[in-house]
Amino acid sequence: MNAPQLPGSLVDNPRLDRWIHFEPNKTVRVATGKVEIGQGVVTALGQIAADELDVPLGRVTILSGDTVHGPDEMYTTSSLSISMSGGSIRLVCAEVRAKALERAALRLNCSPDDLTVVEGEFHQNGQATGQSYWTVAGEIDFTQAPTGSAKPKAASDYKVVGQSVPRIDLPAKLTGAAFVNDVIPKGTLHARMLRQPSRGATLTSLDEAAIKRAAKGELQIVREANWVAFVSPVESVAQAAAAAAPQHAKWSNVQRITPPQQEAQWLEGQPSEDRTIGAPAPATPSRDVVTITVSRPYVAHASMAPSCALAEYRDGHLTVQSHGQGMHPLRKNLAIVLGIPVEQITAKHLHGAGCYGHNGADDAALDAALVAMRLPGKTIRLQWRREEEFGFEPVGPAMLVTLRVALDGKGRPADWTTEIWSPTHVQRPGMGAGYLLASEALSNPPPEVKPTDPPEARGGGGTRNAVPLYDVPAHRILHHLVQRAPVRTSALRGLGALPNVYAIEMLMDELAARAGEDPVAYRLSIMSDKRARKLIELIADRSNWKARGSLGNGKGLGMAFARYKNTAAYCAVAAQVSVSETVTVEKVWCVADCGLVVNPDGCRNQLEGGVVQALSWTLKEQVTFDEQGISSIDWERYPILRFSEVPEIHAEIVDGAGNPSLGMGECSVGPTAAAVGNTVAQALGVRIQDMPLTRERIMAALLKT
């Protein structure tokens, strides 16, 4: 008999007690390796467990991101939490439910099929039996590996999954302490950093006396090689020391970067690792080739809070509390840098401000741990400064995307080449591609590593969504993975999807125009995927596409579609804008097909959030450089979309139609960017191919027409 194919998380965590534990007070603790980053996943996973166990949601506690008791599910990334962790939790709960009913049936001398579960209690013939999960839990061997052999409930039996259950963490966030930044036990020492300006820079002198004078209080300076931290029982003293320190520090061997390097165009021709994926080049190159090049600059995560972590080294054990996206990887990475066995480290997740990818969170955890190891028995709270978060977090990489598409006799794509220049999209430590930042400043910095991008099987990095979902007979990607970027780059929501979808969807409009056809009709003519077709038709309906021509001067209505990673959620977006010197987005419609939806309102919240973020990236955002490094180090130099600029947004999720859950947290970003690009093109009469669509670019485009 073939064993059912288990989700990777169950294979990696082959003990039931890593996933579930019945507590004495008639509650159940269900654990996940995924963490809450503002996307509502902890609430949603609770819903899955509540349904599968038939325990009220209020009695399900989710333990998230805990290396002591919880499973290792790597990072919370790539829109996989519901399918991977949710899928695992569903199977574990179904299996435990079956085992519990078996045990109860033995006690009751009946068949397990005679029993139903009502709020965790086992009923027979509509009557409570006195048996429950809690009476029989002691008889179940939770050290066993999950087998996935118990059938989970049918979707038609769900009572909690599919409901818009309110976020369990929201009330605390509206009324008081709720974040990693808010945990300050008595006796906590506050710490701040002096950052090594670039890899390899050497601290040649540090005027500690001057820094202490500027700090105006009790201050301890801890150092090793090029790593310096300021520690004080008074937070403002540590903050003052860190603010003053750069002018009292001299560095040699600082890497200089230049402003031209901040543009995506700089990437072309840089040393790169090249590969070609896909169909071989055509034997006879066509002459009817349409070419389009789009670009996206470096973009910041720009979290509302600077990264923060707590660390304590006591009795030979290091405990770190962090808002990073993966506690088990963090624990392993800390062990490597600190040179201590992983068993001596505990990492626990606390909520942070939204990170939208790999920001400074893990680095702050190392910073805090390094201080803690040097001050045993003390609780260390380390927080980055605002300038540090902007200046030293990894940023979303710039991308240059060129499409060369040969057309057939009907003006449809026959042969399609996508050429991408981009640095790596993932430099998460422990995956062979990057390091925790402070490790480079210590005495034995790790060797420089060759950057890698996630493989295509995991959705790719720079190549994410480069393969169009449209019916294209032959497609290939020329991927130039730029080996050295001027700044550290890593995962930002969507990875390469936004620039790739921008390019594909701008091309679709261009090809439609050349064929003299409506952009929606053109897309439908080359899209076989039924779920995609449905959304494209729906977005046209919702945005009143047929009235598009009569919007008036300077106004436009454009649309775009993509299926995230070509395997996750489908999403179509339409945007109505007016353009004078700047772009004003008036309305955005967003429709998505996410398969089975656990929490509809939570999903809509993510769609809306992705829309706003993508509008902000597309219209406003660019990381800027000066000789010292990143120069866009505060909100004035790195403006994001404001209340006065956010349009009316209508987000809608279509019925899942029995399809499995599809990861949707990132699905709206690519189509939103592209819809704006296409809309602006309709309004202006000329395409702007380089993001962000700033006033300067619009003026230049207007002058051309």
């Binding site: 509302m304 809070a305 909520h351």
Partner: protein
């Protein structure tokens, strides 16, 4: 040096320098964590509190300047168990994703509704435009304020 301030209706004596920031005093001396540090530069609004009913950036405001005055933070409006109508409206609209920007926005909303109990959409946008929200929850936040205004007029 002890500085007398009324915080959330309670007379408090804060043993911190006059030049300490109000944010530092609230969090590190009074343990009131609802007011948050975002930038320290008056650029994001996360640190907003009310001083004598007016919105103030606590990240830069010196403690000495609020001596003998009345400060209100989110804790003074309501708790998770007993939320203020504004906080309840945000819960009802699920107006939050990471939630970090919300306490500052709730405080500014209180000031707005005290002044303008029936604000237009434009009034709300003008009052909140100094606040940044990176998650993109703006549309829900605006709806929450409208909902709170309606509830509070009852």
């Amino acid at each position: 040096m002890a500085i007398a301030v009324t915080v959330n209706g309670q007379a408090r004596s804060i043993d911190a320098p006059e030049t300490a920031t109000l944010l530092d005093a609230l969090r590190n001396h009074l343990g009131l964590m609802g007011t948050r540090y975002g930038c320290g530069l008056e650029q994001c609004g996360c640190c907003m509190v009310l001083v004598d009913g007016q919105p103030v950036y606590s990240c830069t405001r010196e403690l000495g300047t609020v001596a003998k005055r009345s400060v209100t933070t989110v804790e003074g409006l309501g708790t998770a168990a007993k939320p203020h109508p504004i906080q309840q409206a945000f819960i009802d609209e699920q107006a939050g994703q990471c939630g970090y920007c919300l306490s500052g926005i709730v405080v500014s909303t209180k000031a707005l509704l005290d002044r303008t109990p029936n604000p237009s959409r434009a009034d709300i946008v003008a009052a909140l435009d100094k606040h940044l929200c990176r998650c993109g929850t703006h549309t829900r936040i605006l709806k929450a304020v409208e909902r709170a205004a309606k509830e509070m007029r009852k």
